[in-house]
Symmetry: C2
Amino acid sequence: MSGPADRAIGVFDSGVGGLTVVRALRRELPGEHIVYLGDTARVPYGSKSPSTVLRYSLQNARFLLARGIKQLVIAFNTASAAALPDLEGALPVPVLGAVAPGAAEAVAATRTGRIGVIGTLGTVRSSSYRRALAALRPDVQAAAVACPLFVPLAEEGWTEGDVPRQVALRYLGELFAALEDIDTIVLGCTHYPLLQPLLQQVAHDLTGRTVRLVDSAGAMARATRAELAARGALREGTGGTLECFVTDAARIDEVGPRFLGEPLGPVAQVDI
Amino acid sequence: MSGPADRAIGVFDSGVGGLTVVRALRRELPGEHIVYLGDTARVPYGSKSPSTVLRYSLQNARFLLARGIKQLVIAFNTASAAALPDLEGALPVPVLGAVAPGAAEAVAATRTGRIGVIGTLGTVRSSSYRRALAALRPDVQAAAVACPLFVPLAEEGWTEGDVPRQVALRYLGELFAALEDIDTIVLGCTHYPLLQPLLQQVAHDLTGRTVRLVDSAGAMARATRAELAARGALREGTGGTLECFVTDAARIDEVGPRFLGEPLGPVAQVDI
């Protein structure tokens, strides 16, 4: 018999990066069915106006709603910043954004009260993490550094070796120079979990200490568990399925599995 | 007295990369007035449909036409591929695209008849250079490799040192492995002239020979000179001015001078 808990979690992203959120969800909640939509035909959203991002996000959400989801997860920062309140008001299911869960885990983790944020240029420029951190704990100090090379490194699969290490040394070096005593860094971009082992090592090499890295994808998965559990809507156990849709299929077969961490299965191309 | 030759050359690009074309134009034609438009609010065009790219390109062209230009230069591959024939049909001034000049110089330069092309993923996927090369000389063999890390490296100003060198070794290594006896490489992206000294060295280190690099920005400047000279519309001498417009001013002051190779002067933000 199929009940309300058996309905899927809907996840959308402007591209493939949100598959790291799917990966975290499948680890955290192996019983949950997941429907993923990557709007790869219109990627990136970061260079579009907030009204366009909202319009596209509503279209993506409606596509997922038509598949009977019980929960919506916005897997990337741009749409979370531009569309989360409107989507929450417009949709009949709860909506989880990309920024708040990572900010909450960082605030819980820091002992020095000094948090670093790394993300895309758009994310850093929007100050969305700074605002979320300040709202949670006004006395926290934060520094943010944009890392434009990390996304293409992750997409190219260059996640270890000398090149990504030197790039990481430069970006994290800037971060530690901007604010002393940072003990926690939020990975504020869905692409960055692929670089996490490298970033962990480089942060240690630069500071001589273990710096806590908050993977915002993992934080979103844990927040989703809490949200579903509170509503009695968790699908426990295992056997969760994954359906993937993209609006443009170019490169998804090559890049997708890197982000998902497992074979991708068939991906359907759809018009939104 | 001001005559038809005194009217400006109009150049547009989706972002700042086209400033390398302006730089080449100002070297080749120091007497020419230039008006540049970077559609930085809607960058990148590579992920948009051809009909949208055409619509935006027409809007950009009309903005420049309203400023009395005598010649239009489309400084980037995406719009050249999607909009050049339509713009040529719709506009009252000659239009020069980004692909043909570099392809023509490469065909003229090669002795082995084997040409390499490097560019963005969109440019390589579109096969625009392959088609242009084949149209000029059907017996030429070409291999193309997408180099997604070169654009952020150029924008970050990482154009020398170990990181860009290792990245270049990898991409050019792929190119030389794909086709033997390449003696000429087209830099098929407006960002790449910033990496030219490095690419020249790396190509030499990989092959033990001097490989001819065709800078498509320089090729466009030479083709513009030929076009204007043929119409008697050249403004000889020096003293050419530069007016710059962007649709979003973020980062232009930081990144622009790197691409232009000189101070940028005041940049006006406009709505298109």
